[in-house]
Symmetry: C2
Subunit: 251 residues, 2 copies
């Protein structure tokens, strides 16, 4: 940059983005020093840039003075093309009405599932996923539903890595997982039992448009009520099909 940058070749923009990137689900509130450390931007520079971002409300400050993502960025984020979410939301609502449980919509991004919408009531079990959140694919219902409809080479690449194991019930053996994915493909839905969180189980159905899984619709409930899952699968599949239809129609 202009001036005596320690790291020539790094643009101002890249620093601004690095600062924004310092915020993630695990670190939604940071002090200036933390922002500097996490973004790799020198403290002084971070101070100046953060000031400018704050003035624009790209960043905000909590009552304790910590920095967080600002209102303006939230607002901007809402403008992201969300056709899928727009058409899907009423269906999530429908599933919620029929079950009263946590319902969510997820897409694949890279090797993870990205939760794009979530509907939850007062009685539903607390749950790890949140809109904008990410989780690995293999321990989640929506992840399995999505993964099962990816091309072969993708699945092989996914399984070839070291797979995380958030609970003792997580299935990480490539062979067993591959078999399960075939089953998911055959039945049209995926189930999990405490593979992501102890105490919770889930069901999910893919939203298939021209053979491709553009999203997955899932519900999560307490594992005490695991026996109810089969009954809920039909509601899920109907809604997933409805989403697929509306989505294809608006394309």
């Amino acid at each position: 940059m202009a001036g005596g940058s320690r790291e020539p070749g790094r643009s101002v923009t890249s620093k601004v983005l690095a600062i924004l990137g310092a915020f993630d689900a695990a670190h939604p509130r940071l002090t200036l020093t933390e922002v500097a450390a996490r973004s790799g931007v020198p403290l002084t520079t971070a101070h100046r840039l953060v000031g400018e971002l704050e003035r624009w409300q790209a960043l905000g400050r909590g009552p304790d003075g910590r920095l967080s993502v600002g209102l303006r960025l939230w607002e901007l984020g809402q403008l992201a093309p969300g056709r899928l979410q727009d058409v899907a939301h009423p269906w999530l609502q429908e599933v919620f009405a029929g079950t009263g449980e946590n319902v969510h919509l997820a897409v694949r991004d890279g090797l993870e599932v990205l939760y794009v919408d979530k509907v939850y009531g007062r009685r539903a079990v607390p749950i790890v996923s949140r809109a904008g959140g990410r989780l690995p694919m293999h321990p989640t219902g929506v992840g399995k539903a999505l993964l099962a409809h990816e091309p072969d080479w993708f699945v092989r690449a996914y399984l070839a890595r070291e797979l995380e194991r958030p609970t003792p019930h997580t299935i990480t053996e490539p062979g067993r997982l591959a078999r399960e994915l075939s089953a998911v493909r055959a039945q049209g839905y995926a189930l999990t039992y405490e593979e992501m969180t102890l105490g919770s189980c889930s069901a999910a159905a893919p939203v298939l448009v021209e053979g491709r899984a553009v999203a997955a619709l899932g519900i999560v409930l307490s594992s005490r009520r695991a026996r109810e899952l089969p009954r809920l699968v039909d509601i899920l599949r109907t809604a997933a099909a409805g989403i697929a239809e509306s989505y294809a129609a608006t394309a």
Copy 2:
């Protein structure tokens, strides 16, 4: 900036933010040239900065090559402190369950209402508001509910301006509006009849925490069913009180 800027004193960051600011509810998809024009950044510079933003997925491209807000910004926006929204969502859900209509949560930002959450089903009437959207206060239910609980000087300043008039039913006479606001304060809820959109009417209740309206909860329905509004007001008020309580508890 470094180099022969036409407009010395303008920081790179301000240009990046101006580019992001070029996107709004009325212009969610833009060509490069439009971005440059709307942001006041020279085309060449916009080209370079947009490229960098795109690589980071702060901006994305639609199938037609137009630019839009990117996935990464949406994700980032979800990290904005949303305690209010988190505690309120189950209550919106409750109201939706009891009514089947569009339910939304709004806060005041400046002289406008900012919609922060929305729940809608398949049967609900299409509606102008959307999460992240803004509307003037006086023609909307949530706006009136919020405005009625602002301090006197604020209301006076609001009414002193030229007020927009989206429909012939919009109330813009300061005297009449002020009287209506007193009524809203007295009854604890606000009603509108086609003041924002022909064919739609609404009811809204403020979320009062220590006498301050931190948000408002509203529903919109077809004006053919306006007679049902009074019945729905109770559900709204209960939910608004529930939100206020949960909100105060987590503070």
